[in-house]
Amino acid sequence: MGKSNDTSAGTGGISGELIRRFQAIVGDDAVLSATDELLVYECDGYVVEKKLPDVVLFPGSTDQVVEIVLACNEFDVPFVPRGAGTSLAGGCLPVGGGVMITLTRMKEILEVNLQDRFAVVEPGLVNLHLTQHLAGTGFHYAPDPSSQGACTIGGNVATNSGGPHTLKYGVTVNHVLGLEVVMPDGRLVELGGATEGLAGYDLTGLFVGSEGTFGICTKVMVRLTRDPVAYRTMLGIFETVGDATRAISSIIGEGIIPAALEMMDQGIVEAVEAAYGFGFPLDAAAVLLMEVDGLEVAVDEEARRIVEICDQAGAREVRRAETQEERQLLWKCRKQAFGAIGRLSPSYCTQDGVVPRTKLPEILEFITAAGERHGVRIVNVFHAGDGNIHPILLFDERDKEQIARVFSASDEILGKCIDLGGSVTGEHGIGVEKISFMDRLFSSDDLEVMGRVRAAFNPKGRCSPAKMLPVAGACGMEHIERSHPGKQAAP
């Protein structure tokens, strides 16, 4: 754990000449290089590993991104793109320092075409701003991560973000039609586009979720989705976590695809209730937030079946949101649950495992036991319908011994997800946090083939080095310190 708060900047890696070049490209006000200014950029939402970039740049156009990348190549320095820094897996951690290219100034909505159902946006656009812009048109942008009020669409592309409503509508990759990408060597290419079924490989689909290792996207063409005509939003209250997870398995097993199916356990409900006062019962072991949407003629029947299944699973009560305000408040509680965790603990680590949906009861029992074994308090709020769990491990960042126990418990939980036939990340990405799991999830052959795919995009490994794959970035990048201070140095 010795280096878990490493904030040493490798400023020696960037020459004054290169800084001046960057200033000429983006202007003085778009270059940060003083250590105190860089501190904000030492980590993202994954706070246990930190590393200062040498310089942070805020380009305002695709041309500027191209010029920055060309300069990085010329001076042989690594670079990493960043959106709002909401990654929960260290996706934006500048491993080995170098240049951080922050895209938040490129936030325009360039085109909205309702007839062909797409929009073209810049990568720094905040996710929610697109849906807000579309209000009243009958369309929205479907992927809705809990951080959608802050996270950027470019970041969503990098991590293939999900969200509560992706159960029915799909994750980011299902909604991206095309991309403009600055390749790691500075070439500008367009992948995919507004027409479906183009000849050749689906490079757009491959790029989404590549966590910044294939290049920097500078425009995103997204599909727009029709707004549902009607919703029914329900809150199921359960005496035991087991009853709640059995209800989830039954709903999916019955072939019902709700728009969302989210679970919060008692610990989270306490925090959310203290923050928002919705009127959640504090003595219930778990609540399920369940939403069906679609045609007015259909939603009541689906809602009725869900209530019936919950009753059979032993629900204490199923409440319905009777008004739009109640529905919005319920969703606010869910989406801002993470914000409420500050009431429980000074620091927390959100895990992101996936299990087959029928294995939810088993993994939740395991999580409880793992927490007890390691003396770590764990609360749960997650996308139950996808089998995507988010155990939140509470700790105090200042206590190194606690951090070690958090890592041990996390590792056991994720290992169990693999054993149950699942994955170690459903939507947060591998980043640096989970890189040590890659060779448990994949064989050396799998990883070697993935490495070759990366080499087609990023042969020199300068773009987001030491991410995703547990192998050297590429030839010539050996000088990058594989710090991974937290996990890898953990006992």
Partner: protein, 433 residues
């Protein structure tokens, strides 16, 4: 006339591995020995695609890898070996009330690995998306015999690069697919298709605009030219209205959902100028879905193409194609058009002239015309994928990384297209264009 299922020239030999590890061993042996070109073969439904197969090719048949490996119905996923027939699989899924909601031509013959590699689709892509939305895990073997996997068996997973997306539609040019995991959807309790004729393209465009904010949520919006309408009517044994442009709107869901939406759609079609709306339900709807799916492989035509267009530019393209005597079907909501050139296309010069004029219409709206099948020997002049695009170089780089010896399906993917294409034109429309 070419049979779409028949290879243009037969390969001499085939290997028929019984397990994925045997497949890997045989490919490794070829790669380190004879280095013969390889042609992965499933149900032989798409072997006519692209350039002719080299005579010295070795067919890699997945026919014996035909098992359903894991169908945890309550998780709504299924894992199958690549040689599993789609028709058999769909039947097994249906018994649990589930399906892979992709329209697959010749599904009784087509195999899981084949359909992932060829990425077919049909009318219901409007409501349910395409293959890329359903493949959640994949196993494959490189030409060098290296087996690899990506994705997994859970419906949400972002660990590692999404090589599922890379292999969907790769046409057997990057690796031999050995295993696939699909996510599934429930079968619909009811389905219906409403058909109406329109005289003018402008009326159809207006209808499309109006329907884009319809209260109904149709799963298919089809547009047929007269020749295609006759073929689909004959294939499905269903009488359809006759007129210059035939629009079909497909609905699926519970009985109540379909009935309610049918009323909405009928009102919209009539408001758009249709005098009569004919509905096909139950068995008639099943026959129609099938005929609408099989049209793309059904005709004994000299040239079959697929166009990718913006939905708003599709009617314009359809009108030009109908005027040129082409039998055309559009998945109008998606801007995907299947076309068969007329029977009197007896020489490549005539075929090139029709394709060239249609390409001009497609490219002006940012679209593309891809030749799927043609008479032997016509490929070089027809320029299969049309004008080169900016991302082809990257595709070629991927091909080189995964198949450096150029053993897999030579000439059938990006390398064949690059060899025949014209260079990029500066007026191309792409992202943000």
């Amino acid at each position: 006339m070419n049979d779409p299922g028949k290879p243009i020239s037969r390969a001499y030999d085939e290997i028929v591995p019984a397990t994925a590890s045997e497949l890997a061993r045989l490919l490794e042996k070829n790669s380190s020995g004879e280095r013969r070109p390889l042609l992965p073969v499933g149900g032989r439904t798409a072997l006519g695609f692209g350039f002719p197969i080299a005579r010295e090719s070795l067919e890699v048949s997945l026919g014996r890898l035909d098992q359903v490996l894991d169908f945890p119905a309550r998780d709504m996923t299924v894992t199958v070996e690549a040689g599993c027939r789609m028709g058999i699989l769909q039947e097994q899924l249906r018994q649990e009330g589930q399906r892979l909601p992709i329209d697959i031509p010749m599904a009784h013959r087509a195999t899981a690995g084949g359909v992932v590699a060829c990425n077919p689709g049909g009318p219901r892509r409007f409501g349910f998306g395409t293959m890329r939305d359903y493949v959640i895990g994949i196993g494959a073997v490189t030409a060098g015999g290296q087996p690899f996997r990506a994705g997994g068996r859970v419906v949400k997973n972002v660990a590692g690069y999404d090589l599922c997306k890379l292999l969907v539609g790769s046409g057997g040019s990057l690796a031999v697919i050995s295993e696939v995991t699909f996510k599934l959807k429930p079968v619909a309790a009811a389905s219906a298709l409403g058909w109406a004729c329109f005289d003018q393209g402008a009326m159809v465009n207006d209808l499309l605009t109006d329907m884009s904010t319809s209260q109904a949520r149709s799963v298919a919006i089809e547009l047929l030219g007269p020749k295609a309408a006759r073929q689909i009517s004959a294939e499905s044994r269903q009488q359809l209205p006759e007129g210059p442009l035939l629009v079909g709107v497909g609905l699926e869901g519970s009985r109540a959902e379909v009935d309610w939406q049918a009323e909405v759609v009928e009102r919209e079609l009539r408001a758009g100028g249709a005098n009569n709306v004919v509905w096909k339900e139950e068995a008639a709807a099943v026959a129609m879905w099938s005929a609408l799916t099989e049209f793309q492989v059904g005709a004994e035509s000299a040239v079959t193409f697929r166009a990718s267009l913006r939905p708003s530019r599709t009617v314009e393209f359809m009108t030009a194609a109908i005027d040129a005597g082409v039998a055309v079907q559009a998945h109008l909501g998606n801007g995907v058009v299947h076309g068969h050139l007329p029977d009197d296309t007896l020489d490549v010069g005539r075929a090139c002239s029709i394709i060239k004029s249609l390409r001009a219409v497609a490219v002006s709206g940012g679209g593309q015309v891809l030749i799927e099948r043609c008479e032997p020997g016509w490929q070089p002049e027809l320029d299969l994928w049309g004008t080169a695009r900016g991302d082809w170089e990257l595709m070629a780089a991927l091909k080189k990384e995964l198949d450096p010896g150029e053993l897999l399906s030579p000439g059938r993917g990006i390398d064949g297209a690059r060899a025949s294409a014209r260079p990029i034109e500066t007026n191309e429309v792409g992202v943000g264009g």
